[in-house]
């Protein structure tokens, strides 16, 4: 379970201080498929970054399964991310010189997984995301949707507790975006992985089992649906 209590985050832009998050309280239970929505500048990405331990908050606390991750130092956060979190980015952020297989398997490499297991798990997850037969293609030989599938495979191959996705369909056409969402949803059900993704696309919001709407750094609404 993710517990977010009174989280505030301010940024300085020149002389101006921007209050990105103004006291967020939120609880996310295991296996949720949660969408954080809101207009640009509402604090979606900041909230994702804080949950993902890649940013530091100014006030409040975030705990994941009782672990106060927001209090961790830089090295502890790195280790925590490596072992527990998966990320999907809007622009895929694949390594262009590596094949699909290598882009996914490197996550297991840095976890120290042995070659045989690494290979087996990578092939399996690539098959699950629909990239069987394309394992040895480089990203530039794949479509945007296929690249995002690699990114999903990369996020899931280590079977993390939580996958954080920042606008995962923003760079895709609506049909491909929907396919990606269906895939994410399917993975959510298969592995009971908590998915938290940011979006400002209504179609994407429709897929979420819970929709948290942010406005000017505050939660404007929190809706659960089935």
């Amino acid at each position: 379970m993710i517990k977010i209590e009174g989280v505030r985050r301010n940024y300085k832009t020149g002389e101006t201080e921007v209050k990105a998050l103004r006291g967020i309280d939120l609880e996310v239970t295991d296996g949720e498929f949660l969408s954080i929505a809101g207009p640009s500048g509402s604090g979606k990405t900041t909230l994702l970054n804080l949950i993902g331990c890649i940013d530091s908050l100014d006030d409040g606390e975030i705990t994941i399964d009782g672990v106060p991750v927001s209090r961790m130092d830089r090295h502890a956060k790195t280790t925590y991310r490596r072992e527990n979190l998966g990320f999907i980015f809007q622009t895929y952020n694949l390594i262009p010189v590596l094949t699909a297989f290598e882009n996914v398997s490197f996550v297991l490499s840095i976890l120290g997984v042995g070659q045989e297991e690494l290979s087996e798990r990578t092939y399996r997850i690539l098959k699950e995301v629909g990239l069987e037969g394309m394992e040895h293609r480089r990203p530039d030989k794949l479509s945007g949707g296929q690249q995002q599938r690699i990114a999903i495979a990369r996020a899931l191959v280590k079977q993390p507790k939580i996958v954080l996705a920042d606008e995962p369909t923003a760079n895709l056409d609506s049909k491909t975006g929907e396919e990606i969402l269906q895939l994410m949803k399917q993975m959510n059900r298969t592995y009971n992985t908590t998915f938290i993704f940011s979006t400002h696309d209504k179609m994407v919001m429709e897929y979420a089992s819970r929709l948290v709407l942010l406005h000017d750094g505050e939660i404007a609404s929190d809706t659960r649906r089935e």
Binding site: I54, D55, F87, V97
Partner: protein
Amino acid sequence: MKFIIRLAFQNLTRYKRRTIITSFAIAIGLMLFIFVDSMLQGAEKESELNLKRYETGYLRVLHDEYWENRLMRPLDLSIEDPDSILADLESAGYRATKRITFTADMILNSADFPEEGNLSVFVQAVDVERDNEVFNFGETLVEGRFARKGADEVVIGSWFAEDIMAEVGYYISLITRGNGGFYEVMDLEIVGIVNCPNPNVNRTLLMMPFDTADYYLGMDGAATEIDIALSERSNLESEAENVARIVSGYSVLTWRDLARDYLALAEAKRGGTGTILFLVFIIAAVGISNTMLMAMWERTRELGMMRSLGMKDSSIRLAFIIEAGGIGLIGAVIGTALGCLANLWLVTYGIDFGFITRDMDIGYRVATVMKGIWSVKTIVTSLVSGVLLSMIVAYLPTRKALKMDIPSCLHHQ
């Protein structure tokens, strides 16, 4: 680790043109390093050989006080009975010869020379029968013959002859002070002109028979020095100690003591050339650093992604440093190969610096062609330094990139 190495080497092929250009800068730097170092080492080695063969010998026996007063060329601070010392040295297996060195005013008169005039010269009176056992003038005669024992004859250096427009058969007069301070004038016929690989000798040599000088200078058989030849493999210091035991009462100096000025100059030249090479390396280093900085800049989002996924900063740094090392390795291999090719030419043919050395003393005792030498140390240094330098200069840009916070990296455009 395997992944890091693979990633680093895959990234080398990512920006082929940039990798090639940077490697090329390193290669040129290292090629120059090998070439210049080889030429310098070759010039130094050749200079040392030419010093020993034509100027200093390997060891020199002198009167105890001679070296302190050497600029005066004192005839009274001499070796009184050089022949007995020579006999002792010969029985101990040494090749040695006696010489008298003195300064004089050389008078050129219009009967032979186009212009009258005088100039200060440095004269070496040599034992015409033994001198070639120690020095290597045997093959250097380009005109005429060597001076005969007891004759009023002189052999001069080829450039000296050109400078004063002397020819074989001309006469020169030497005015000097003999042993005891009396004035003496010698009229000597130029009977030969020598050209040897030592520019200093070509520029200044005046060589006359020992016994002629002995007679004119009132030396009573004394010599100002005894020069000894050794094999190249000899241990100079231990041989000097051995000779000192034989010639007790006299000083024994090695060629290194005698050529102190040259060695200091060579050291200074090495320092100067080292500075130039250092600058070449700096240029290569700036190239690599710039390449890595560009690589970092372009891959900032990728860095952010890797850090998000929990890759350690040290692993990311290592990947970039290996990548830089790869660029360095390509540059080092190409540079070393090019350097060896250039050096092959330098070792075989050399560069003719005669046009400079003829009119200007550049310090080295090489008259014309400077050849290179093969140095395993230089080649290994080139390879290792190319790789190491690249890795070292990649460290700072990597460190800078890793200081950025992850969200900034991820949103970097």
